[in-house]
Amino acid sequence: MFWVLDYLCLLAIVVTAALTVLQRNLAASVLALSAVGVVLTASFVVLAAPDVALAEIVVGTVAMPMLYFIALGKLRTVIRDNADLGEERDRDE
């Protein structure tokens, strides 16, 4: 039973990691990165590491996405075309 849980967590981590890299839209890949953090916490709990799980859940879901979304917000007004961010500029611009 333990190993089934472990393998599920590993599969989820690898899938979300691949998703983070292959996503076109930056905001979506930030969420995928946060998903990696959450599933990593689940695997830490499974692997009997409560301390590390607490630290990882707080960083993975609060601090990391916050920093990334602030950076994205700052970038939106600076770079010329938003195609780089993977977002289409809304038509009326």
Binding site: I13, S43, L47, A48
Partner: protein
Amino acid sequence: MIVVNYVAAGCVFCIGLFAVVARRDVIKIVMGLSLMEASTYLLLVSMAYRRGATAPLLSNPPSGQTQRDVVHGTVSDPVLQNFCLTAIVIGIAVTAVFLTLAVRVAQHYRSVDAADATALRG
């Protein structure tokens, strides 16, 4: 077995490294490094795991065991978990610095494309 954890950690490390090497988007490079970090945490905690181990906790030992049993019983390795905590602190510190730099570079070069930020070369 735990080898699957090691292999998965190696895969996430390679995915992160590929993102840093092959993606031209500055924010994607930062995410690649965050993924490499995540793989180091996974590798460390997997190396710390022992078969049938409980957490290295002495406060309320599992049913029927006294503190002495836990001390000498099968527990996961607390020293590696300490290193993992250090790695998480280093990870959040480096990511904060990274993103500030990425925004400043984008403000100057007006693009998030790493191929544009190549004024220093040769």
